[in-house]
């Protein structure tokens, strides 16, 4: 016979899961409910399930292309941030040079500037360079992130110096020490930065909204936001679009769940 405490705890845990999962379930249900029967609200058991909303979605927007855009842009900005961030981290942690403190301080200063401050001048910059409405403009602000540099520098600083000094005595240069000793040892920090970089790019909305016009160049959040009509909204199509854009990230999440959660928790303890 379980105690009252256990029963209460389980009720709370399951109720919590319902609150978090029912909206997703509802999204799927709406997306396969025939449009005509949505007016009274969808029902738990769909009478005539249909994929019409998905067909309509694919007619309205080049969704496959848009999903691919989201993916490769997130992957590219992650890769860029890992490379530029780990190199800078090594520079700050292992090289001696005059003005290091000042340069690092300037890096940190860029961390505090919100995207909203940058969005207008960045848009003008892209317009001047004739880059607006291109992939390059989408990618540009996320090539390097001071946040990544900061996190990775901490990781490099915490490695014992004996390791790379021993390698240096053996004749290894900075590049060898960096690639064969430092990089493998800071893998957990690299994973954390990768999680933040990928999620940041995948979810980013304001910047794509400002700089992208052509549907072929849109990312998922931007494409989805255009599905809302001015006056009426086809909720089955919008929900089909939501399913379409949740699925890929849900699959990634399923496999990388432990790393993602560990990565987020890691930043909080610091």
């Amino acid at each position: 016979m379980p105690s009252l405490r256990t029963v209460l705890r389980w009720t709370a845990v399951v109720a919590g899961a319902a609150v978090m999962l029912v909206p997703f379930l509802w999204t799927v249900i709406t997306s396969i409910t025939p449009n005509g029967s949505l007016a009274g609200g969808p029902t738990l058991v769909v009478k005539d399930p249909t994929l019409a909303a998905y067909r309509e979605l694919l007619d309205a927007l080049p969704m496959w292309r848009i999903a691919l855009n989201s993916f490769w842009i997130a992957a590219a900005s992650t890769l860029f941030q890992l490379v530029t961030g780990s190199m800078a981290a090594y520079g700050f942690a292992r090289l001696a040079f005059r003005g290091k403190g000042l340069v690092f301080g300037l890096y940190l200063a860029t961390l505090m500037v919100p995207m909203q401050v940058l969005v207008v001048p960045l848009f003008i910059e892209m317009k001047t360079l004739n880059l607006q409405d291109t992939y390059l403009s989408l990618l540009a602000p996320s090539i390097a992130s001071a946040f990544g540099v900061f996190l990775l520098r901490q990781a490099v600083e915490s490695l014992p110096r004996d390791l790379d000094e021993a390698a240096t005595i053996d004749g290894a240069g900075h590049l060898r020490v960096f690639t064969t000793i430092v990089l493998p040892l800071i893998r957990p920090a690299l994973a954390t930065v990768a999680v933040f970089a990928f999620m940041g790019s995948w979810n980013s909305f304001l910047w794509p909204l400002v700089v992208i016009r052509s549907p072929e160049l849109m990312t998922l959040p931007l494409g989805l936001s255009t599905l809302q009509g001015q006056f009426t909204t086809d909720w089955d199509v919008v929900m089909a679009g939501s399913v379409f854009s949740i699925l890929p990230i849900a699959v990634v999440y399923l496999f990388a769940q432990r790393h993602i959660i560990a990565g987020i928790a890691h930043t909080g303890i610091k």
């Binding site: 845990v13 509802w26 860029t110 401050v117 940058l118 909305f205 304001l206 939501s242 849900a250």
Partner: protein, 292 residues
């Protein structure tokens, strides 16, 4: 300079330039030019016209500025307690051995990896005044059914609800990590001294959790003041401006009204407010944050 010195300088450039160049081009330059734009009247098309600090003085006197800051503040005031209490509650529930723990943790966290736009659209549908799930349930219970995003009084609460739902899992993970860092013997000692579960929570767990709480509060307020995506998608700042927030105003000033100078000035005012609030919290943390 010696050859060694030049070699070292070469390495410094090699390691730092890949990050320094993009940061200068896409953060530092826009930052400086944003200050410059904020001192001009400019509609993005015709030549800029120098107005000095007029944009700032005008904004500080404009009731619209007061409104958008009030809405942003209200958003934070509603969002923070919800997400903190909810996230801490979930963390406490999961902070012990139980079957299916990994599943529940993953389920609570799923909204965190979902994009704001999707969350906003899904909640706009859930909170649809006529055929949404929430109002159907409320109706079945005989409770009043708010107009949510169609009603000026309910538009902001609708946004708050969606936002708290998305971020619960994030707060939970941070608090869970904090809970697991609390040494068990401290709780054990409190138990042997006769402290009940309630006392242990308020007197031991919560104070020892204060670094995590501090992190959550600082991050939530920084993000809260920059709220935009979900507002833009759910309400567009409406009905009749009732849910317009600061960043929404910056966007509209630039791209709808062609007042880029004022928009830049407003973005700097927002930045100053965020810096101030964060600085106050960092200074104030000595009073209540205990690092073990």
């Amino acid at each position: 300079m010696s050859r060694r010195g030049w070699r070292n300088r070469g390495w410094v450039l090699f390691f730092l330039l890949p990050s320094a160049i993009p940061l200068v081009l896409f953060t530092a330059v826009p930052m400086v030019s944003s200050l410059w734009v904020s001192l001009h009247r400019w509609n993005l098309i015709s030549p800029m016209e120098w107005v000095g600090v007029d944009n700032y003085t005008h904004l500080l006197r404009d009731p619209a500025t007061r409104d958008v800051f009030a809405h942003t503040l209200l958003y934070c005031a509603g969002y923070l307690p919800l997400v903190f209490a909810g996230g801490l509650g979930l963390a406490l529930l999961l902070n012990q051995r139980m079957p299916g723990r990994a599943f529940f943790r993953a389920a609570y966290f799923l909204p965190v990896v979902t994009s704001w736009v999707v969350v906003a659209l899904v909640w706009k549908w859930l909170l649809n005044p006529n055929s949404g799930l929430v109002n159907s349930l409320l109706g079945a219970l005989g409770a009043p059914q708010p107009g949510w995003w169609t009603d000026p009084a309910w538009a902001l609460p609708a946004v708050i609800l969606a936002s708290a739902w998305k971020d619960l899992g994030f707060v939970m993970v941070i608090m869970l990590a904090g809970l697991q860092a609390i040494p068990q013997d401290v709780l054990e000692a409190a138990r042997t001294d006769g402290a009940g579960a309630w006392q242990r929570f308020w007197r031991v767990t919560l104070p020892l959790l204060s670094p995590s709480t501090f992190f959550v509060v600082v991050i939530s307020l920084i993000n809260g003041f920059q709220v935009f995506d979900q507002v833009y998608v759910m309400t567009g700042g409406g009905p009749s401006g009732s849910s317009q927030v600061v960043v929404g105003q910056i966007y509209d000033l630039t791209f709808r009204y062609g007042r880029a100078g004022e928009a830049s000035a407003l973005s700097w005012i927002l930045f100053a407010v965020i810096l101030l609030i964060t600085a106050v919290q960092v200074r104030g943390q000595r009073r209540w944050v205990h690092y073990a």
